[in-house]
């Protein structure tokens, strides 16, 4: 008997790949062939059994015990800032505040205070003629501002005012470098380590 062909059809049927025409052909054969009929019954029962198999539930405490382990592993927790990081952040913030105080306080004093006029005249910051000069003048005005601030709180010689002003510029530049370049790079490195673990 050519039952092998019908076995193949049954396989296709179980795969959901049997056309209506083929299904009819199979049905017709099964009406005449007891062996195939029995086979088909068995296959149907197996498929039925698989459908029933699907419902095995995990033990009740399953999810809870997995979650407990996961909270312990805590791989993706938002990184808490370490004491060191918080100190650095705090120091940078404080530095910005003091620089801003000095700069803006100084500029304010330069504009409204007496010392500024004197110091500005020495530095000659009224001569705006080109961009380069403008930059020079801007820095000079900040120096003047710092100078006037310093002048407002004590008796400073002009040269020491310049030294202090330059020190403030250096601090300002260092802060910029730290915030714009060094800290982001370090954070990226820490992040890379965390991910690759």
């Amino acid at each position: 008997m050519a039952c092998e062909k019908y076995t193949d059809m049954m396989m296709d049927y179980m795969d959901g790949n049997l056309s209506d025409v083929e299904q009819n052909e199979l049905k017709q054969h099964m009406e005449e062939c007891n062996a195939c009929n029995e086979d088909f019954a068995a296959y149907s029962e197996i498929l039925q059994g698989f459908n029933e198999l699907e419902i095995i539930e995990a033990p009740e405490d399953f999810a809870a015990s997995v979650m407990a382990k996961i909270y312990e592993l805590n791989l993706y927790a938002p990184k808490k800032a370490s004491v060191k990081e918080r100190l650095v952040d705090g120091a940078i913030f404080a530095a910005w505040v003091s620089v801003a105080t000095v700069l803006f306080g100084g500029i304010g004093f330069a504009i409204f205070g007496n010392g500024a006029v004197h110091f500005a005249q020495i530095q000659g910051f009224y001569t705006l003629s080109n961009i380069f000069e403008a930059i020079t003048v801007a820095s000079q005005s900040i120096i003047a501002a710092i100078g006037s601030f310093l002048a407002s709180i004590g008796n400073w010689s002009e040269s020491s005012m310049v030294v202090y002003s330059i020190a403030f510029f250096a601090l300002f530049a260092a802060l910029l470098l730290l915030q714009v370049y060094i800290i982001p790079r370090q954070k990226a490195a820490v992040e890379r380590n965390r991910v690759s673990e």
């Binding site: 396989m11 029995e38 086979d39 197996i46 059994g49 995990a58 996961i70 993706y76």
Partner: protein
């Protein structure tokens, strides 16, 4: 706590990776029965299945960043689960053949249409579960993935790292083995 129930699997994965650990609980709720069933069908021991299914979820958690949404999440889960079980078997070289599936019936679905239907269904389930355990692993794993989990030949071939033609042949062979087994038990005309 934020409701995660209406989020997609991928959104949940992203949430976990982003530090919202409890989003993983929703993934667990969605896939714990799937993983547990797959593992139980393969290891056939409730305690082993529980341990291994837990390890599989830990593995999933550790690898979440590697998940790409071009796979279905369920396929990815089953892939990791299957490989875990196969590896475990290789490590322990301990093929458990004793059936513990008598216990399984007690935890089947509680909503039974009628006592008689429920009995037949349970009987079939029990029988099939038993017969599955008698199948060699090379047949059991693909047929469970195909008929129980509804994976395609393509997906199974990716999971077990065998060509699709081989997977298909094994599934056909597995069906025939199950059928012969069933016929031998003289139950073939049952419930059809």
């Amino acid at each position: 706590m934020i409701a995660f129930t209406d989020k997609s699997d991928y959104e949940l994965v992203m949430a976990v990776v982003d530090g919202q650990q409890h989003a993983f609980d929703e993934l667990l709720q969605r896939y714990k029965n799937l993983v547990y069933s797959v593992v139980l069908r393969m290891v056939n021991d409730r305690e082993d299945a529980n341990d291994q299914a837990q390890e599989i979820f830990i593995k999933l958690y550790k690898n979440l960043e590697k998940y790409r949404p071009d796979y279905k999440f369920s396929t990815w889960v089953i892939k990791i689960a299957t490989n875990h079980v196969i590896d475990f078997r290789r490590r322990t070289k301990n093929e458990v053949l004793v059936s513990h599936l008598e216990d399984t019936d007690h935890e089947q679905s509680e909503f039974a249409p009628s006592p008689e239907e429920a009995y037949i269904a349970k009987e079939q389930t029990r029988q099939l579960a038993e017969m599955l355990q008698e199948l060699p692993e090379m047949y059991r794993i693909p047929i469970v993935l195909y008929h129980q989990q509804g994976l395609s030949y393509q997906e199974i071939s990716e999971i077990v790292n065998e060509p699709m033609s081989k997977v298909k042949n094994r599934i056909f062979r597995a069906r025939k083995l199950l059928k012969e087994n069933l016929t031998m038990k003289g139950e073939a005309s049952y419930g059809v």
